[in-house]
């Protein structure tokens, strides 16, 4: 059903006008549509009406201003008392989401809808398709990724067999853009959970293959910070020594390779040099300080203060 507000009769409803008080700041000159629909909405909310025409009015106001969180809260409360089906509501939401991708309310509403209105597990596949469609327009959309993480947590998608769907999805996103940090974050979340929580045996068993995965990504684009950060995070979470990536890092930053000081070192990635700095500093080797100083003085001058601080405290 379309629930178009003009299809309903509101002649018995006395609109409640906007009351911003005397001489208000930032008063918006509303257009007639917004004035009319929000006047009716205030009246229906005041009387607590739960009906199809009330639902239609919320659709109208949301179309004009989807950030109006009060309307969303009212809508979810009255929804069970209207003729709208969950499927109909999800389809309507999708159209609103596509028109307003940066909105905070839409996906929060969608998660409320699934937990309140659907008994048992909803159609996860449909939700995943929805997420991917939203990411086509904006591959780093924060709300959409957060919603996917909510789905994972809420419906246990980090367990087999769902985890394979998640990993395949992340892999596709990374194939589109290996620098998509939102996708790297999702991969970490699915495989390793929250960084602050202790690692399980299962997570520790995943370390090796994930190190390989990150290395392959780095080989494609050594300047890409995301897989370097991912690599560090996997090592830390699983308590793996940084030593296992020493040779790999030296491939991209051969500053310690040669005794001959006249040879200009080849630094293909400042991230490699940074990781080597951490690796050596941890071992109390002076090479740690050397790496940090090289970053401060030559390879990453915008962060000179930071690298000098690291050199001082190493």
């Amino acid at each position: 059903m379309s629930y178009y507000w003009k299809d309903y009769d509101y002649t018995d409803v006395v609109p409640v006008p906007q009351d911003d008080g005397p001489d208000p700041l930032c008063a918006i000159i509303y257009n007639d549509d917004y004035k009319e629909t929000s006047g009716l909405l205030r009246a229906l909310m005041k009387s607590g009406e739960a009906s199809d025409r009330a639902l239609a009015i919320t659709s109208a106001v949301i179309a004009l201003n989807p950030a109006h969180y009060t309307v969303w809260a009212y809508r979810i409360d009255i929804l069970p008392k209207t003729s709208q089906t969950v499927e109909g509501e999800l389809a309507w939401l999708e159209s609103v989401a596509e028109a307003h991708p940066k909105n905070y309310q839409i996906l929060q509403y969608r998660s409320n809808l699934l937990t309140r209105m659907v008994e048992g597990t909803p159609n996860i596949n449909a939700e995943c398709i929805f997420v991917e469609r939203m990411l086509l327009a904006d591959s780093k959309n924060y709300h959409v990724w957060s919603y996917r993480q909510w789905l994972v947590q809420q419906y246990g998608l980090q367990a087999p067999p769902a985890i394979d769907v998640e990993l395949a999805f992340v892999h596709r996103m990374l194939e589109d853009d290996i620098r998509n940090n939102s996708a790297w974050n999702h991969r970490f979340f699915v495989l390793f959970g929250i960084p602050a929580d202790p690692a399980t045996d299962e997570m520790i068993a995943r370390a090796e293959s994930e190190i390989t995965y990150a290395k392959a990504a780095i080989d494609l684009a050594p300047d890409n910070a995301s897989p370097w950060n991912y690599l560090s995070a996997v090592l830390k979470k699983t308590n793996t020594s940084l030593d296992v990536v020493e040779d790999f890092c030296l491939k991209f930053a051969n500053i310690f390779d040669t005794e001959d000081t006249t040879v200009e070192p080849l630094i293909m990635s400042r991230h490699a040099l940074a990781l080597l700095g951490d690796l050596y500093a941890k071992k109390q080797s002076s090479k740690g300080k050397t790496a940090y100083q090289a970053l401060a003085n030559k390879y990453d001058p915008i962060r000179a203060n930071y690298w000098s601080y690291m050199a001082e405290s190493s």
């Binding site: 409640v16 906007q18 009351d19 911003d20 008080g21 001489d23 208000p24 700041l25 930032c26 918006i28 000159i29 509303y30 257009n31 917004y34 201003n65 989807p66 950030a67 109006h68 969180y69 009060t70 809260a73 979810i76 929060q108 409320n112 780093k140 924060y142 990724w145 957060s146 993480q149 589109d176 853009d177 290996i178 620098r179 998509n180 940090n181 939102s182 790297w184 974050n185 999702h186 979340f189 390793f192 929250i194 602050a196 929580d197 494609l220 050594p222 890409n224 910070a225 995301s226 950060n229 991912y230 293909m268 990635s269 940074a274 001058p301 915008i302 962060r303 203060n305 930071y306 001082e312």
Partner: protein, 377 residues
């Protein structure tokens, strides 16, 4: 440099670098100064009647007021006169909800974000807290009703739970002197779980680290206890510093909000504002203040008034507030001692900007005036 695979991210990044490079070059030799009068005109317009296209901000009225008033206060503007002060108070009063919090507009549900904006705006214009249109008891009960069993806060009934909500709740409680152990229990533990894989802090556990949420989490920890102790206890400081330092971009000089995202002027505060809080631990400056100021003065400032995300974008009240706050945070020298934050005096650099309070983001002098009045009361 070795060959690298070009992707959408790297192509967009290069484009923005080129635009900024051009802009910085075109400003070479020109003095960097704030176009104060033009910014005041822009902000006054922002406080006036707004065209129908602003309907998207109809549920953000206290925000609009705060962004403009905070910007004017940072510029030490004489436009904040008695009439303006009165209008700020009555505009906020119209947004106060029956349950004690503040909504985005008249008749809107109470929501933590506009409540935060409202209390901040009131703190700037009215040092006598007893004259605020706020019922502290009702407000406290409403704040408690927003708290979840696991230590986070939800923005409003049926609303999202995130680090922003928690920061807003604690700022409001702290400025209204209604902060209690019941309100704060579990908060720090929850925030600790919001730190993400690359070191920054996310909106909620498992989400991607983000500059805005990172500031909210850090500032919240600074309200929850002695800043140095709280930050070191609940966060991986090494990772966080690395992530924050990585947000500054070499060519642009400004900050991005996430790994592999573009520079945006508003992160001058959301990311830049983390450094004064972390200086309680590092003791030395970490960001390159010069480069950030270069971005602000050449790429973000619009000569005809207002400050913007990046060159070519239109200025707005939100960016004006957070770019100016970030500029202020990068100039003032901040320290925490004997239970309170201190800053250096007002700097006359670039034409003059007031130091902010690094936790609440209101001018330090307004905060100090509040404290004095509270003792007298």
């Amino acid at each position: 440099m070795s060959s690298t695979l070009e992707t959408e991210t790297s192509v967009l990044q290069r484009e923005v670098e080129e635009i900024c490079k051009e802009r910085i070059k075109s400003m070479k030799g020109k003095e960097w100064r704030l176009y104060k009068t033009n910014h005041e005109t822009f902000l006054l317009k922002g406080l006036g009647n707004l065209p129908p296209s602003f309907v998207a901000l109809d549920a953000s009225k206290p925000w609009l007021v705060y962004w403009c008033i905070n910007s004017l206060a940072l510029l030490d503007s004489t436009l904040i006169n008695d009439t303006m002060i009165h209008r700020v108070k009555s505009t906020i009063a119209a947004c106060v909800s029956e349950d004690g919090g503040v909504g985005g507009g008249n008749g809107h549900l109470a929501h933590l974000a506009p409540t935060y904006a409202a209390i901040n705006a009131l703190s700037i214009v009215e040092p006598r807290k007893n004259l605020w249109p706020i019922d502290k008891e009702k407000l406290y009960n409403w704040l408690m009703s927003r708290k979840t069993s696991y230590g986070g806060f939800s923005m409003h009934v049926n609303g999202e739970v995130d680090t922003r909500a928690l920061y807003c709740a604690l700022c409001v409680a702290s400025l209204c002197d209604i902060i209690t152990p019941e309100l704060t229990s579990g908060c720090a533990e929850w925030l600790s779980r919001c730190q993400g894989f690359d070191g920054g802090i996310a909106g909620s556990p498992g989400n991607e680290p983000h500059g805005g949420y990172t500031f909210c989490a850090l500032a919240a920890l600074c309200i929850l206890g002695e800043p140095r102790t709280m930050i070191s206890k609940y966060l991986d400081v090494d990772k966080l510093l690395y992530w924050l330092a990585a947000r500054q971009y070499e060519i642009e000089g400004g900050f991005s909000g996430r790994t592999n995202k573009l520079v945006d002027g508003c992160y001058s505060f959301w990311v830049g504002g983390c450094f004064p809080l972390l200086q309680t631990i590092t003791e030395v400056p970490i960001l390159s203040a010069y480069d950030l100021q270069k971005y602000i003065m050449t790429c973000s400032q619009v000569e005809t008034g207002g400050l913007a995300d990046k060159p070519g974008k239109r200025p707005d009240a939100y960016h004006t507030c957070y770019v100016l706050s970030g500029l202020s945070a990068s100039i003032g020298n901040y320290s925490f001692s004997n239970g309170s934050w201190n800053s250096s005096k007002k700097s006359e650099i670039y034409g003059g900007i007031e130091p902010i309070h690094p936790v609440y983001n209101i001018p330090m002098k307004c905060y100090k005036a509040l404290s004095i009045e509270a003792e007298v009361m």
